[in-house]
């Protein structure tokens, strides 16, 4: 069946199941019940908990349990009030005023005021790698006890996305004074308080009784276990030893979806897997070679092997970024594998004989490990020999930061706003420039997008950005795997977020039948 299934069908099939599953989710409008201990498991431990010092995703994922942001993004990626009740932008677009919710309590019982917000951002700008998200922000000033003003150097359309992003969690000044840093302690306003943490084993969190969302959270306690082997997590779900797990290797969906005692959740993810190309290396400099690579790679096949088909091919703006999506017919044509065309492009670039590159893989990332051999086999067809090179995480990071690679498999949790998503990755001088490339026209467009506050104009700009990306192939958006979660059937009210950050635990309740 596989050979005859087109990409389009694959996408549709994905869409259908998605709809079907989300129907079952809010079934039987029972009233939530309080109490109980909710146990979840993950394969990776957080390297530290400080929401400003630790860039690792394992930290970001856990932060929403203990902290809140000023604004939060709904699953459809629209911003909604969280700690901020409302906000206004000045007419010149240079000042944002956020009105804070009153009576919000930190875990230590102190009230959240504008001073904490200012402290949060002062500390962020001073010592956090996350300051790059806020690069256009000049300063943050209190304006009364319950309002803060963000002053920006230029109109900054990405501010809300940054506030609702990985680095926007509001911390307590008193908490930092007390603990030094917040790597092992947590003092936030969030639904759960950190009670005990045994590294590489489990984290115990207690209900925050003074949480500002009335009635939440429902459960008394959350235990987050670290079980490094997903096979064991699957077993634990089946035997009812844990309530919830986020599945990283999508093939395990096949093992669990038939289990009667479990509820499955499948939704599209903001992040995506990509083939990261270093466009400053040898033949990869030539845009025609990169285009050839793009045409040689059969993304649907990679999706099938690396994510067992549970996912979708994606334009540069992924599915949850609904308002920024390009119509499918505009991007799908770039993804149609065409070996002849690819060979022609190689010939035009003077690479008829082909060449050899190294293709990096982090051995502990399942989608990279299984995706790389497929990419290599596909590139072989146009004469490119990709030697797979397994690089341990710490070394990989070091080399990636130093841009010391030809090509590497890569994955990103994604960003809600096109500014954060594309500027950071692709701007040749002011961003992180993941691909060591430079397209001045694109740089200009990205800067324009950052300054433009008008939604319609922004949309036009980012449509053009995306087409430019598809034409110039900085890296290959391979696929966006679906987010798959399973809970025991007794668990209600769970919702996964497209960023896979753990926002969903505050609404969880246990229906002990």
């Amino acid at each position: 069946m596989t050979a005859s299934l087109t990409r389009r069908q694959l996408l549709q099939a994905g869409g259908l199941t998605l709809g079907a599953l989300s129907l079952g989710r809010h079934a039987a409008g029972q009233a939530p019940k309080d109490g109980g201990t909710f146990t979840s498991a993950r394969t990776t431990e957080a390297t530290g908990l400080d929401p400003q010092l630790v860039p690792a995703f394992s930290r970001s994922a856990r932060s929403p349990m203990m902290y809140n942001q000023l604004v939060r993004f709904e699953p459809d990626m629209t911003p909604v009030p969280e700690l901020a009740e409302s906000w206004q932008v000045s007419s010149d677009g240079l000042q944002w005023t956020f009105k804070l919710r009153q009576g919000v309590k930190f875990h230590d019982g102190q009230e959240l005021t504008s001073a904490d917000v200012k402290f949060t951002f002062d500390r962020l700008f001073e010592k956090s790698p996350g300051k790059s998200d806020f690069i256009a922000v000049d300063k943050v000033e209190p304006s009364g006890k319950y309002a803060v003003k963000f002053v920006t150097k230029e109109p900054f359309a990405g501010l809300l996305a940054a506030l609702g992003g990985f680095w926007g969690f509001i911390i307590s000044e008193a908490g930092v004074k007390k603990h030094g840093d917040l790597n092992k302690a947590a003092v936030g306003t969030g639904p759960f308080m950190l009670e005990d943490w045994k590294v590489e084993q489990q984290m115990v969190l207690k209900k925050h009784a003074g949480y500002f969302k009335k009635g939440l959270p429902y459960v008394d306690q959350v235990i987050l276990r670290v079980i490094p082997d997903e096979a064991s997590i699957v077993a634990a779900l089946r035997t009812g030893q844990i309530h919830h797990a986020f599945i990283e290797d999508n093939k395990n969906n096949n093992l669990l979806k038939e289990e009667k005692s479990l509820t499955g959740y499948r939704s599209s993810r903001l992040g995506y897997d990509f083939l990261n190309i270093n466009a400053s290396r040898g033949p990869l400099k030539d845009v025609r070679v990169r285009q050839a690579i793009s045409y040689a790679v059969d993304r649907a096949q990679i999706l099938r092997v690396a994510a067992s088909g549970f996912g979708r091919l994606t334009a540069p703006a992924t599915a949850p970024m609904k308002q920024w999506q390009l119509p499918e017919e505009q991007w799908m044509k770039y993804y149609r594998p065409d070996v002849d065309k690819a060979k022609k492009l190689m010939a035009e670039a003077g690479q008829t004989a082909g060449f050899t590159v190294k293709l990096g893989v982090i051995p502990t990332f399942p989608t990279m490990v299984s995706g790389a051999p497929v990419v290599a086999a596909q590139l072989k067809r146009i004469g490119i020999t990709a030697e797979i090179e397994n690089v341990e995480y710490a070394v990989w990071i070091k080399r990636w930061l130093a841009k010391d690679f030809d090509m590497t498999m890569n994955t990103t949790p994604g960003y809600a706003d096109p500014d954060t998503a594309f500027f950071r990755a692709l701007h040749s001088t002011k961003g992180q420039n993941w691909n060591s490339w430079s397209v001045p026209e694109l740089d200009a467009l990205l800067e324009e997008g950052r300054r433009t506050m008008d939604q319609k104009k922004r949309k036009e700009i980012y449509d053009r950005v995306q087409i430019m990306i598809l034409e110039n192939v900085p890296h290959l958006w391979l696929f966006s795997a679906d987010t798959i979660d399973f809970t025991q059937a007794s668990v209600k009210g769970f919702r996964q977020h497209p960023t896979t950050l753990l926002y969903g635990f505050e609404g969880v309740w246990l229906d002990k039948a």
Binding site: K184, E200, D229, A235, A236, T239, I242, K398, L401, P413
Partner: protein, 312 residues
């Protein structure tokens, strides 16, 4: 006394070796902490390096660590911020329990098999045991583990609990978790012990006094259990003791396969995380443990068999 002195010297050498090897590993804790998804300035990297003392010359770093050790301070783990001692003590019971249970498994399986094999020499049971021990010596621990899990989960629809519980919280649950790992870990040792038992029993059974005992009209069972086994016990105990040391090393693989929170996995994790203090001190701790076990075996051996005096 001489033993203790040479142990100390060995530990000093080991500490230097581990220390230097770790510094040769590419990548440091700093890269490990940063992660891919960040813009990091060189100043920040330098700051972090200073924080961990990585900007100091190596001999100073080494000196500080060893100075701490002599005061009984194993240091603080970089990635967890906890004292290394606390982390070791948290994990130690798991590894000890696993090792002890594996030795127990090995003896319970190995000794009777060896006796049976020796007393029914060259008969069917002997041949079965001998083939069995050879297989036991050849089977990779991790594969055996995987196959056992496969067998239990698919054919018997039974799964040991995957969430760790320590012995004192819930002994029954703890033992169900430990059963398969201990069995896997103990298999090769069981084979070794069975072989030793068989050889020793054969030796003893051939000897003068056993024949006398048999001649006196004592039953087979009494002869075997009371006289023969007692005399064969010395080498068996020695082998079991030696196995204990070997098993201690084997725990690292078993802990990985069954994801048990023991010391072996702690070391591996620490190496991957480039957590130098944790790696160094834990390895040293394991060495002390290992040498102590070996020393104890020697002492026990000398005690059981006064004819042997340890010399070295």
């Amino acid at each position: 006394m001489v033993r203790l002195y040479s142990m100390a010297l060995t530990l000093l050498g080991l500490s230097l070796l581990v220390f230097l090897m770790l510094r040769l590993v590419p990548g440091t804790v700093v890269e490990q902490m940063i992660g891919a998804d960040a813009i990091v300035s060189p100043a920040m990297v330098a700051e972090l390096k200073r924080f961990f003392g990585l900007d100091q010359p190596w001999w100073r770093q080494y000196g500080l660590w060893v100075a701490g050790l002599t005061h009984g301070d194993l240091g603080t783990s970089w990635r967890t911020g906890k004292p290394v001692v606390a982390l070791i003590l948290e994990r130690l019971p798991v590894t000890m329990e696993l090792t002890a249970l594996a030795v127990a498994c090995a003896m319970v399986l190995g000794i009777p098999a060896g006796i049976l094999s020796a007393t029914r020499r060259d008969r069917a049971i002997d041949n079965i045991t001998r083939v069995g021990t050879l297989l036991g010596l050849s089977i990779p621990v991790f594969w055996q583990g995987t196959m056992l899990i496969l067998f239990f989960s698919i054919y018997l629809r039974w799964m040991p609990p995957v969430v760790w519980v320590d012995f004192f919280t819930d002994p029954r649950r703890n033992l169900t978790i430990m059963l398969l790992p201990a069995l896997c870990l103990g298999t090769a040792s069981a084979a070794n012990i069975a072989r030793t038992t068989r050889a020793c029993m054969l030796d003893v059974l051939r000897s003068e006094y056993i024949r006398t005992a048999a001649a006196k009209g004592l039953t087979d069972r009494v002869v075997i259990l009371k006289h023969a086994l007692k005399n064969a016990l010395i080498p068996i105990v020695t082998v079991a003791g030696l196995q204990m040391g070997i098993l201690l090393g084997g725990t690292v693989v078993v802990e990985e396969v069954f994801t048990l929170p023991g010391i072996g996995r702690l070391v591996l994790w620490a190496i991957y995380q480039r957590d130098y203090p944790l790696t160094q001190s834990t390895i040293l701790f394991i060495a002390v443990m290992f040498m102590t076990i070996n020393l104890a075996v020697d002492v026990l051996y000398g005690y059981l068999d006064p004819r042997i005096r340890y010399s070295a």
